[in-house]
Each structure stands twice: as C-alpha cells, then as structure tokens.
Amino acid sequence: MKILYFAWLRQRTGTSTETIDLPPGVTNVTELLAHLGERHPSFAEAISARGVVRCAVNQRHVDRDHPVTAADEVAFFPPVTGG
C-alpha cells in the first residue's frame, strides 16, 4: 500500500511517501492511522498535539470509516489552505 504525507505531517514523519504491507485487521482509515502511529511515534505525537488530520483514498476526500485495501493510495494531510 502506498502512503503519502503532506505539509507538517510530512515534516514530522520525515518522509513524503512510503510503501507498507497492510497488516491483517487493518480495514479502514481509523485502523490504518493507528497502525501508522505505531510505525512512526513522531507521527502519532504530531497528530495528538496538533489536532485535525484529513485523509484521501485514491485521491478522494474520505471519512475515517472509509475502507482501505492493499491496492489503495492513501494520503494524510492537515486541512487544506490553498486559494
């Protein structure tokens, strides 16, 4: 599974993209977030300290109960601030 991080999440994880094996039992965004927090303690700390994190699966904004599979591209980022 391809994971992407943007803005301050990228700075905290120290990586913009990584490929991971999806562990059994991780079926949605919330579970994936918890798994990634175990891989990157700095990521988990950043989320708890700075609050809101948004997610896109296959380049679409999704809610936290959205399902994920090994073939998906999943991105985590803070609320957008363009325009």
Partner: protein
Amino acid sequence: MAVRVQAEPFDLGAEIAELTRGRTEIGGVATFTGLVREFAGGRRLTSMTLEHYPGMTERELERVEAEALDRWPLDASLIVHRYGKMLPGEPIVLVATASAHRQAALESCAFLIDWLKTRATFWKFEEGEDGGLWVEAKEADDEAARKWHLATGGILV
C-alpha cells in the same frame, strides 16, 4: 472549461483574452485573483511556499468546476492555481467564469473560490523574518463553503 496547476506566474489579461477569444455568446466574465500578502497575522512575510498533492489537486479542481457547471449556465471557466515559492504581491490563484449573464458569472466565481479553498489539496507555508509557519485552515473558509451547500440544497461532494 479548464484547470491548470503550475509553478509559473500567470498574466490575468492574457488568460481572459484567451478564454473569451471568438466567443461572442459570452455576456460577462467574472474573475477572482488571489495574491500573496506581505503581512499575515501581524507577521511580515518574506515568501510563501505552496505544497500540493500532484494528481489529486487537478482532479479535485476538476470536480469543483464540474459542480459549478451543474449549478450555473456557464460558457467558459478557468482555474489556475500555482504551487512552489512565491513573493509578496505575486498572484497565487485565478478563477474566471463566463456566461451570457452577469449573475451566473459572479455567483459561480464566488462559489468556485469558496469551494476550492476547502477542497483543493494545497498547504501554505509562510516564511518571515522570525521563521516559517504552516498556515492553519480557517473556520471562516469552511463557513463560506457551507453557505453554498445550504443555499442550493446540494449534496457535499
């Protein structure tokens, strides 16, 4: 109908001339241009850098544009959004809408800029004399986007 995400600056006059060339059915063009401000939150900025999500950004802007086309009778539209490092005074974003009548052009232009501010995957990093800061999303921007949802009864996409 077009969406462009680019590092280069754009020329407002040239973009509008291109958008309307030979299009005699158009009665009015509404445009919004966003610029880099020198002062933000009491800080003096030396530069601003926009990070984005290549691929998703273009798709999201296209979805936002398609939503405007569903709601208003537009003859032409254009969204140009820059990424990378910019200096105070430089243009960041251009939204232009053209229609036979002014109301459709003006309303859809306001809709597009409100909507893309909460949907398009850009993040601003402001650098000043006292260091760099990621810009936090504003509740006022979410409110502006929600108003369109409530006013039209549309479904959030």
